[in-house]
């Protein structure tokens, strides 16, 4: 199961790094939650972060918007994940992993765009493992330029 969870995390990162964002909502349960929040707000227990999706639908709207409505310079991500720490829970698994995301601009400029932790609740959804919730807790309070592709 450890293997299967690690594969899920790697597959998720791969989908985003490859720009296959249409695959993104599918990693979540139908009513799955996704949030990007700063460490500062997270520790202060504040509800509002930087991005929030309360359902797969909201994720689909995000993808739709960034494909057709939002304007930004082309760029890609590269994820590096540390070994996850996995705990069994009532509903499935509580998983935590350190993350670093590099952002590569079209001119090749590469920056450390984000570091932090994934705090995941993973459930067995039929045959597959899916995120019941995935919270990205960013170490930094500040975002370079903008955040449009999910982390």
């Amino acid at each position: 199961m450890h293997e299967a969870i690690e594969d899920l995390l790697a597959d998720y990162a791969e989908a985003i790094d490859d720009g296959a964002l249409e695959r993104w909502p599918g990693f979540f349960a139908e009513d799955g939650e996704y949030q990007i929040i700063t460490r500062e707000s997270h520790e202060a227990g504040l509800p509002v972060g930087i991005m929030y999706c309360g359902s797969r639908g909201m994720m689909e709207d995000r993808v739709q918007a960034l494909r057709t409505a939002n304007i930004y310079e082309p760029h890609t991500y590269r994820h590096l994940l540390a070994r996850p720490r996995i705990q069994r829970s009532a509903e499935g698994f509580a998983v935590r992993s350190n993350l670093c995301v590099f952002r590569i601009a079209q001119d090749g400029e590469t920056v450390v765009f984000a570091t932090g932790r994934y705090l995941d609740r993973i459930v067995e959804d039929g045959a597959a493992l899916r995120f019941r919730s995935r919270q990205v807790v960013l170490d930094s309070r500040r975002i370079d330029i903008l955040l449009v592709l999910p982390l």
Partner: protein, 415 residues
């Protein structure tokens, strides 16, 4: 004839004769102008936004801020009074407060333990009398002559402002009646912070100051606005300016939409308008005046936003000639119920660094910074909505707000 620069030595700039309808690109990239702004503009007769009062609720609370590039600490003393002090020790200039937020009975510099009260008055100097009678300060040393440099402070609707100048009029007069009223409408109630983050944008701070006063771009660049009819120029709305033109309010009334085919021509409306998760835009009527979208700017670097039910304060501060930090503080009313808080959370997706209708502003000003490289001798052209600086009630297809900013900037800089 051209207007030569009169008061800025070392700056080689001639403002075009067309006045506020032109902006020399040089002002966004000339280091001499940037240095001069630190003295002449940010220490001039303006009110700089420092922080929210709710960030320093208790006696002894402090919070760091910057005015231009000058580090400042805002404190609340034991009597509840708010002070703003340059965060620069009177001894050798070290930062006195190191953490972004804190609480203390006194402000003690870590370098040599000089200690100040919460109003910035020097209280003690370590080893002032030396050790066992040796060393220490000269007899004539007088603590009264050394203190943390203070700013004048005023609090309006929970907004803490500071100024270096004695000439600055009181905040309410500075804002003018119209601006003050709208701030009261949006912030004149007990508030709580729902979250905050910031953005580093790679452009001169004045490009963002223009951007937030630019009611012309909003519905063209931010196509999500248009498509989902959150904010469009074919709703009733307008661009109100303060008497001096420095501050502005861009507002719209969502229920008054009568679609104009102007939009058919622009990219802005090409995107299918059905949301898979419409709850994103679930709102409730927070005010009875029908205004559902309102971006208010306070000269020079503050913005108060109420988009649908998303209430936020934005402010920005220069981090270098082509680098600016933009802060987002999301607010709710203290008496919001759970569902209202949930709606504000949902709508927080609209703005901020990842905002569906604001993320473009993270790069668009950089596009201007980069687009004008090598063209420092050319000018921006600002004649949309005429050439004057005055309110434009009824239409936001205007750059009057931007012209108003430059009017104020030139007055302060002597350009």
């Amino acid at each position: 004839m051209d207007i030569p620069v009169t008061h800025a030595p070392g700056i080689d700039l001639v403002w075009p004769r067309e006045g506020v309808t032109r902006v020399p690109f040089q002002v966004f990239s000339d280091p001499a102008i940037y240095a001069e702004e630190q003295k002449r503009f940010f220490r001039g007769p303006i009110w700089n936004f420092l922080c929210l009062e709710i960030e320093i609720p208790k006696p002894g609370d402090w919070r760091l801020a910057t005015v231009g590039e000058t580090p400042v600490v805002v404190t609340r003393d034991e009597h509840g009074a708010v002070h703003a002090l340059v965060n620069r020790c009177a001894h050798k200039g070290a930062l006195v407060c190191l953490q972004e937020r804190g609480n203390a009975k006194a402000l003690t510099c870590v370098y040599h333990s000089w200690s100040y009260d919460l109003a910035g008055r020097l209280q003690s100097v370590a080893f002032r009398h030396g050790v066992r009678g040796k060393g220490g300060m000269p007899e004539d040393f007088s603590p009264e002559q050394h203190r943390l440099e203070p700013l004048r402070v005023e609090v309006f609707c929970g907004l803490v402002f500071g100024t270096f100048s004695d000439a600055t009029v009181p905040v309410e007069a500075y804002l003018g009646e119209t601006m003050a009223r709208m701030i009261r409408r949006n912030l004149g109630r007990p508030l709580r912070m729902l979250g905050m983050h910031s953005q580093i944008i790679h452009n001169n701070w004045k490009l963002y100051a223009e951007n937030v006063r630019d009611s012309y771009h909003a519905t063209l660049l931010h196509t999500f606005y248009t498509t989902f009819k959150v904010n469009r120029l074919d709703m009733d709305g307008g661009m109100l300016l303060s008497e001096d033109g420095r501050h502005s309010i861009s507002y719209a009334k969502r229920d008054t939409l009568r679609q104009s085919d102007e939009y058919q021509k622009v990219h802005a409306a090409q995107y299918k308008s059905a949301l898979a998760a419409p709850e994103l835009l679930d709102t409730w009527t927070e005010f009875e005046d029908g205004i559902t979208h309102c971006i208010q700017t306070v000269f020079p670097t503050l913005v108060v936003q109420l988009t649908l039910n998303s209430l936020a304060v934005r402010f920005f501060t220069p981090r270098g000639i082509n680098k600016t930090e933009l802060f987002w503080i999301y607010l709710g009313a203290q008496d919001d119920d759970e569902e209202q808080t949930r709606k504000r959370l949902m709508q927080s997706n609209l703005t901020g660094a990842a905002g569906l209708v604001s993320l473009e502003d993270g790069c668009i000003n950089e596009f201007v910074q980069r687009g004008t490289r090598g063209s420092e001798d050319r000018n921006a052209f600002l004649e949309m909505g005429g050439r004057d600086v005055e309110s434009s009630d009824g239409s936001r297809a205007t750059e009057t707000g931007i012209r108003g900013f430059w009017k104020g900037y030139r007055e302060l800089m002597g350009f």
